[in-house]
Homo-oligomer: 247 residues x 2
């Protein structure tokens, strides 16, 4: 029997209509869709985004990826997920793994695809890109994320404040992904550098419950959800236009 193909589909930042046409067509043609399982009894983020697009007879495979930093626990989880996916591939069924944002931008997809190809190097993998949250957030804020000769730095959930300082020294625009866990430390650095008025937070960009903070001067201790990002305009943000609706 011919092996199924593993697809990775980036489904965009949150609004279900921001999936690409190509991604949607593929999603509606496969027998199995996989995604990171939700936590605390809630649907996972990618699962919420695609929920309205799934046919009733599609198999939904919730894969468990623990929120820890221990490499051995993570690797065991990726291997187990790869085995779950291989079960369907070996039976000739295509599997589409969906990821919020893009599959190549801080996504679990790369670990899953590498794990599946480690189990069986002949497995075909194809990936379809998606809209990443930093550009969606900038669009909602009404200024360009990057333009002209401006340089851009992106930091994941931060591990070192020295790295943030170096980014602020180097780049014209700095994006901090998943900023919630280090927000208070970040605020102190932005305060010291006089950048709070040029700093923005977007929670759950393009979702119905999106929340925007323009300027952080009076917000030293925001409680933010996991999917929050910060955009710091180190250089003045020109040109500025005003969006009137969030999409």
């Amino acid at each position: 029997m011919q092996l199924g193909t593993l697809y990775g589909i980036g489904v965009g930042p949150g609004d279900p209509e921001l999936i690409s046409l190509k991604g949607l067509k593929l999603l509606q043609s496969v027998p199995v869709v996989a995604f990171p399982a939700g936590v605390g009894g809630k649907l996972g983020v990618a699962q919420q985004i695609v929920d309205r697009w799934l046919s009733l007879d599609i198999v939904q495979l919730a894969l468990r990826f623990p929120y820890v930093r221990d490499e051995s626990i993570l690797e065991a989880a990726w291997l187990k997920a790869a085995e779950e996916v291989r079960y369907y591939l070996e039976r000739g069924q295509d599997v589409a793994f969906v990821s919020e944002g893009d599959v190549s931008f801080y996504s679990t997809f790369a670990y899953l695809a590498a794990g599946v190809q480690k189990l069986d190097p002949s497995v075909r993998v194809e990936a379809i890109p998606g809209i990443i949250s930093p550009v969606a957030a900038a669009t909602s804020l009404g200024f360009p994320l990057a333009i002209g000769d401006r340089s851009l730095a992106v930091l994941p959930a931060l591990y070192s404040m020295a790295e943030l300082e170096a980014a602020l020294d180097w780049a014209d625009v700095v994006v901090l992904m998943k900023v919630s866990s280090v927000y208070e430390q970040v605020w102190q650095i932005l305060h010291r550098r006089g950048l709070l008025d040029r700093s923005y937070i977007v929670e759950r960009a393009t979702c119905p419950d999106m929340k925007i903070y323009r300027g952080l001067s009076d917000r030293p201790n925001l409680k933010l959800p996991y999917f929050s990002l910060a955009i710091v305009q180190v250089a003045a943000p020109e040109p500025v236009f005003q969006t009137n609706r969030n999409f």
Copy 2:
């Protein structure tokens, strides 16, 4: 008469099916579509991407943005483009400006929107994000653009090699947009740092004529088209999977 709305739509990196569902619906509902005019008798890039989606009776407005760095020439061009767009808005017609990639990522849209709102601050502007070429290029290459604790730096068409050196010192992954005009200088720096084997070029990501160079060791003087980008994996690119087809 009610003013029309100016929409900005990011139409993705090149494959027409990578437009978002939301962007496509909007594109097919407006009476006027605007885009940067092509040069040398060819259609503009954004125009090529959306061509198949346009209804026969839509007005196509090709705006001229000269490829120069002289600020006064550029500002005159943006103002003229803004006036052309305002002509339709004042007659109550919505105008959608389409941009390859995303409207907030090195796009002319911000200049146009700011120009239109300068002429008339009451004009409504709305923007819909799109898939940017760096993530599409990484997807085609078969490795994550950024993952885990890796940091990312993006440089526009380069003006200073010192800035590139600083980015290579700071970031785990460096993206060079529109690398063609400075390629030979960039190659020398990557050579000196021993990074040529971890450097990749993608021309026209996701287009039918996309071209990929994996490793640049034996390529000191590539002739590249305008829409070429380089990805430099300063830190080793893990995990790697192998995509079998190029989206």
